[in-house]
């Protein structure tokens, strides 16, 4: 149950679409303590533009083979370098970090809402739900059909609903425009990860429908383990560190104007 600095070997790299990669790593420790919603903090190299580590959510864990999978979207120098690393390379990570999602209660009707690369942490969560006998509903949004990643994986774990901003796949619009919200499906619990505007929109829906809702934040981090106090978000109880008291927060604790 300790945070650790590990040397993980990249063993597989799959290009998911034009700017997203799935990276699988062989860990140097037993991973049984890792929970859905936690993240790793990766040392890229020490070039001037990637001096600090880069936090990436844990997408999947194979507890038998001690492998961790991540989904990385290229947005800048760090993600660029990381995704151009070749299998066989050793990558330095601090892990596992963050609190993770809460466990749903048996019989809970759960909706997972993911946007863009924010779908990543929802996968391990859905997998765990399946083990505990819960088939979640999974609502995923992206800009275009091409931006939807890992659909076949999510399809195995629950019923999947999609939106695209341009209408190129299923419902046109944002995730909050999907009819799933008006169908009286009576969700007990919503788990959400994606761009902040999307999470705020989902939080607003959840608040209105009075459904318990957890969101996974992605604030800028310097340390990732609670010592720099850079990654804070405002809660009713003051500033909280996203890296240790999050990244998952219940929306009822956040000071979001929704």
């Amino acid at each position: 149950m300790n945070k650790r600095v590990g040397q993980l070997q990249l063993i597989k790299k799959i290009k998911l679409n034009y700017n997203n990669y799935l990276l699988e790593f062989k860990a140097d420790s037993i991973l049984s303590d890792i929970k859905p919603g936690q993240f790793v903090n990766i040392q890229i190299d020490r070039s001037p533009s990637t001096f600090l580590r880069r936090p990436i959510s844990i997408y999947d864990v194979n507890y038998q083979t001690d492998t961790i999978s991540l989904v990385v979207k290229i947005v800048g120098a760090g993600s660029e370098t990381l995704t151009s690393t070749e299998p066989g390379s050793i990558i330095d990570m601090v892990y596992p970090l963050g609190n993770g999602f809460s466990q749903p209660k048996a019989g809970d009707k759960c909706l997972l809402v993911g946007g863009g690369v924010g779908v990543a942490p929802l996968y391990l969560l859905a997998k765990e739900m399946n083990i505990n006998g819960i088939k979640p509903f999974i609502l995923l949004g992206a800009r275009t059909a091409e931006d939807h990643i890992l659909l076949s994986e999510f399809n195995k774990l629950g019923e999947v609903f999609l939106t695209t901003n341009d209408g190129s796949l299923q419902v046109k619009g944002f995730v909050t425009d999907h009819e799933i919200w008006s169908n009286s499906l009576n969700f007990n619990k919503i788990y959400c990860c994606g761009p902040e505007p999307m999470m705020k929109a989902v939080a607003a829906k959840a608040a209105k429908l009075d459904i318990d809702c957890e969101v996974s934040l992605e604030n800028l981090m310097a340390c990732g383990f609670g010592v720099c106090l850079c990654c804070v978000t405002k809660t009713h109880d003051g500033h909280k560190c996203v890296c240790t008291e999050g990244p998952v927060f219940n929306i009822k604790d956040l000071e979001w104007q929704i």
């Binding site: 945070k3 600095v5 001096f51 600090l52």
Partner: protein
Amino acid sequence: MANLEVKIHNLTFKNPVITASGTFGNGVEFDDFIDVNSLGGIVLKGTTLKHREGNNYPRMAETASGMLNAVGLQNKGAEYFCKHIYPAVLRYDTNVIVNVNGSTIEDYIALAEIINDLEAIPAIELNISCPNVKEGGMAFGTSCPMAEQVTKEVRRVYSKTLIVKLSPNVTNIAEIARAVESNGADAVSLVNTFLGMAIDAEKRVPRLSTVTGGLSGPAIKPIALRMVWQVAQAVKVPVIGMGGIMCASDAIEFLLAGASAVQIGTANFVDPQVSVKVIAGIDDYLQRHNFNSVLDIIGGLQM
């Protein structure tokens, strides 16, 4: 194994490696990564008399070989410190130093008095150089008269080792060092962060909620090293050097320039185990160069 022990005033440090305030939490966050007791000392997160929420997010911007921070001394205040943090750090067998902050001289005095009563805290680091608070902070460290006054007043109420942490945002840091020395500082530590700024060119907004913040990391090392060298020549009290130390060789540069000990800050974020690696590296250096003691290299720059 060479002798790594150093003395700062009447305090003994196992080795010259101390972790810097604001980058090491309260130590406990590092228990997973290293044996905190192997360090020469740790300086706890900046503390103020009263609870402070700190500045708004975003508080951090990465820059070339460095980072800006604008945390703004978020902390739960002296009372919480005494009740919750102090008991948690009691178990450490290393010098646990409290970083003392204030907006007014009265604040500094009141907090120093409180910490003076905590038996297991052998020293305070008087931070007169925080660039991230609206009142006080760096204002005290960038003016000789103010630096003198706050040091003198705190000295009056604080009876243990008093380290004063200097701001690099000054024309003449040696002058400020002499001012605090002659008003009762037992040691000086430097540097705190440099006031800097970053802009998101695409969005045309500052990257920090506070517009400006404090620059730390390897980018500042050459300036920090120069200041430590200047101050070491200007004062008789021990100097604790810091600014961009990432490895043993960086630390040795500061020792050679005249620092009796070093602090490691931002590097702790990049590698939570860096502090113990630096200790091992200094030991290795001393052995390779046939020095018995780290004291043999302090101020050992050959000109």
